[in-house]
Symmetry: C4
Subunit: 275 residues, 4 copies
Amino acid sequence: MPKSEDSALPAWRHRLYEIVFEAETPAGRAFDITLLGVILASVAVVLAESVPELRAVHGELFHAIEWGFTALFTVEYLLRLLAVRRPLAWARSFFGVIDLLAVLPTWLALVLPGAQTLLVLRALRLLRIFRIFKLAAFLSEANLLLAALVASRRKIFVFLGTVLLLVLVLGSLIYLVEGEAAGFVSIPRSMYWAIVTLTTVGYGDLAPQSGLGRFVASIVMLLGYSILAVPTGIFTGELLAAARRRGISTQACPSCGAEGHDLDARHCKFCGAKL
Amino acid sequence: MPKSEDSALPAWRHRLYEIVFEAETPAGRAFDITLLGVILASVAVVLAESVPELRAVHGELFHAIEWGFTALFTVEYLLRLLAVRRPLAWARSFFGVIDLLAVLPTWLALVLPGAQTLLVLRALRLLRIFRIFKLAAFLSEANLLLAALVASRRKIFVFLGTVLLLVLVLGSLIYLVEGEAAGFVSIPRSMYWAIVTLTTVGYGDLAPQSGLGRFVASIVMLLGYSILAVPTGIFTGELLAAARRRGISTQACPSCGAEGHDLDARHCKFCGAKL
Amino acid sequence: MPKSEDSALPAWRHRLYEIVFEAETPAGRAFDITLLGVILASVAVVLAESVPELRAVHGELFHAIEWGFTALFTVEYLLRLLAVRRPLAWARSFFGVIDLLAVLPTWLALVLPGAQTLLVLRALRLLRIFRIFKLAAFLSEANLLLAALVASRRKIFVFLGTVLLLVLVLGSLIYLVEGEAAGFVSIPRSMYWAIVTLTTVGYGDLAPQSGLGRFVASIVMLLGYSILAVPTGIFTGELLAAARRRGISTQACPSCGAEGHDLDARHCKFCGAKL
Amino acid sequence: MPKSEDSALPAWRHRLYEIVFEAETPAGRAFDITLLGVILASVAVVLAESVPELRAVHGELFHAIEWGFTALFTVEYLLRLLAVRRPLAWARSFFGVIDLLAVLPTWLALVLPGAQTLLVLRALRLLRIFRIFKLAAFLSEANLLLAALVASRRKIFVFLGTVLLLVLVLGSLIYLVEGEAAGFVSIPRSMYWAIVTLTTVGYGDLAPQSGLGRFVASIVMLLGYSILAVPTGIFTGELLAAARRRGISTQACPSCGAEGHDLDARHCKFCGAKL
């Protein structure tokens, strides 16, 4: 989040910045909590509008409320542009783009009318739910989990690569064994079945019909059941490693300044000086 | 569990308290084990009564047995009120409310008769199964697991929040991709599908029909399969941390200052000085 | 496994014991490996006979083979009775009973003929697959996993108890919410649904039809998805604890004889003597 | 990967080796990355050709492209034979066989024409996807996960053996309880159901119909849900053990003999002596 480093900014813009961007000041906190409620309400309206029964009865009302929220969020977007020191930099940041996406669909509907675009319009409108991602800003603990995920990202990438290779091979195998009669009409469709089975989801919309097919499916299931251990093991190990890193003393060696000593170390492990 | 702190209580009430509330005295233990059996039997009758075939044949019998159990539990409830030092405080405690909920439905059926309320009555009667929660009192080991769950509650909350955000985004995505023709009639319905798929339950009552929909579904499944590692990692880490806390003394050696001694250690394991 | 403690046994019975019971001597090893193959073959025949298409064609052959295996295993059972020092004690041991169950069904079919008992006969015959449990004797590593499971048995019991309570409450809830129209005809049936959903199996033979039912189902799924972490955490912790116990030195204190010292301990942690 | 140990090789073959086999030189790296793209493209064509709609329109084009890729890979295979010092040894190595399997199916289609073999031909053609396994060479981190899997292979073998025994017993049990009317027509088919249920896949193509069958199924599900903890615990433990082995030096302090020093320690952390 950008910080206003310059005291030469007009006082009212500094104050606006404090309200709109800061979360620690009373005014900023009140603004953020209110905004959170409004975002949740606007998401609820988007969800409700998608239900045919509700749309048939309250369609007009939803339309009006949606325009109200759009107006509100547009004003908020402009205030943010005004408050921030470098508006262009903010507009291109992650939250700047998210905030724009939250208001754009409704406005675009004005410029691009027409029957055939209405469906696309609805699609764009749905992007407004991304607005809710702001919630994450309130949850600082998420960073810890995220750090563990980031630390294990390469191992998880290898794991997912292996899973995709397995899906390719096992999907082709079931395609050969079962064939089109059982619904395995193509390799991509069979790969979809392999993912459904390997991840133990098991819709049942595609299921092997022959004895050999059931045998192959059994192997896929046992594989999926067993290798589920791999991401769990990776993440657990990474989380424990993070905890162990925190178990290391923060004390620096008075002689050489090295850090990273065990909590029970009495001598610097690099220069031998007493800690 | 409240304790009778006052010896000025009449002897019979003290004795009653020992039987009804205490689990360590022979009489209290016998009472608790008998109560456990009666609770299980009454739950069994509630289950049996809900089966149409059994209700058609033994409906009258079930009705009579239910009244018997209700009478028994009502007497027990009154005895508890009598035995405890501060009846009102106990009645508002967790187990006091549970005990009341176990007898109320059958009695309410007398005051509020009528065809249309019979269904609601049945609903209230079902709350009697909460009575079984008393069983938990017998299982002290549950506290350990509960402690680990409580310690990781914030991380689990963040995880569930992230999962719900994913469900919102992925549900909207499949709603756009598949649409009403494939059964994804609204965003809430599509979010239900996303939960079914992400948790690897996979009923199959809703399944993508188009190639693009299957591609989105595959991503949802692989996500659900991978992030299952997160709650497992959190809980495992918390359980290990709890074990470590219990396993290592915080006492430092008075001679050499070394820490990390086992709880049963009487001498410093580094210099041999008495701890 | 019983050991022949008495050298007064006739030489041929001692030799027979070595062949039939011992697995370390060349003859005993050859016998065990042959037996393993025969057991697998007999299980394969039981499986093949249950397939209607194969039974229609090869029914007679299967019948003959089955009698052959029964004769073989009967002879083996008698040899074991002959070889062992205390036949009655062995016959009542776990493997003695398993071995008897492996031959009894076919013999019982002779004594108890008749149309209506034929189905029961087939049921008893299926018990012959228990014979395969002997395989476990070959896998010593199984003991390690078993030990970890036994160590965590109380925690797993508490976990399963909690899961069953959840199943009772959630099953009753969905029974109330969905009712008989959606297939939730009784509480036991609804509890079956709760187990199917909580364990993330998700057959789809029972699925909620109303919006409120889908909401309850979503909570059940997220619960099942999250608490899967609990048995995993318990077992992982127990396995690591077992590994740590093994990480403890087996050296006894020369002064006080106490054991259980850390590998890096230089002094007995109980008496302070140098190790 | 074979290494050219002999400098007596002609310069052009040495250069060819560097390009075709080495991945560190600029030319070799460019070759490998290009090859990777070509392999992915050829796999994409195999997938696309299996889709009936695409094959109907672009069948001829796919045929031509496939021949192009086959020609390319054949030239590459011959170049590898030429470049390597001991062609026969390489041809029999894992990657040599994979490379041959990638080109053989298309060529075999020329020698073995005929309507009835066309299906088999398509089957052989599918083996070309094994070519993608080369990708693994780029992912060195895979080795770590593989090592942990290899270290826990015996425990996983025991686990899978136990699961298969459970499947045999539980499958036979449901076969007896449900019988052919509910679709459990044979023990192998019932074992397939047991695997589907135990691994929590749950297609729903086979589901118990009777109350007793649902009870057995519930036990299978709870078993599958609980023992999922076993492979996860095994793999997590193995991964942590590997991390510990890598993290701690086996070097003892020459002065005080203390062990357990970090790999980057230069002084004993207990007495400060130089290691």
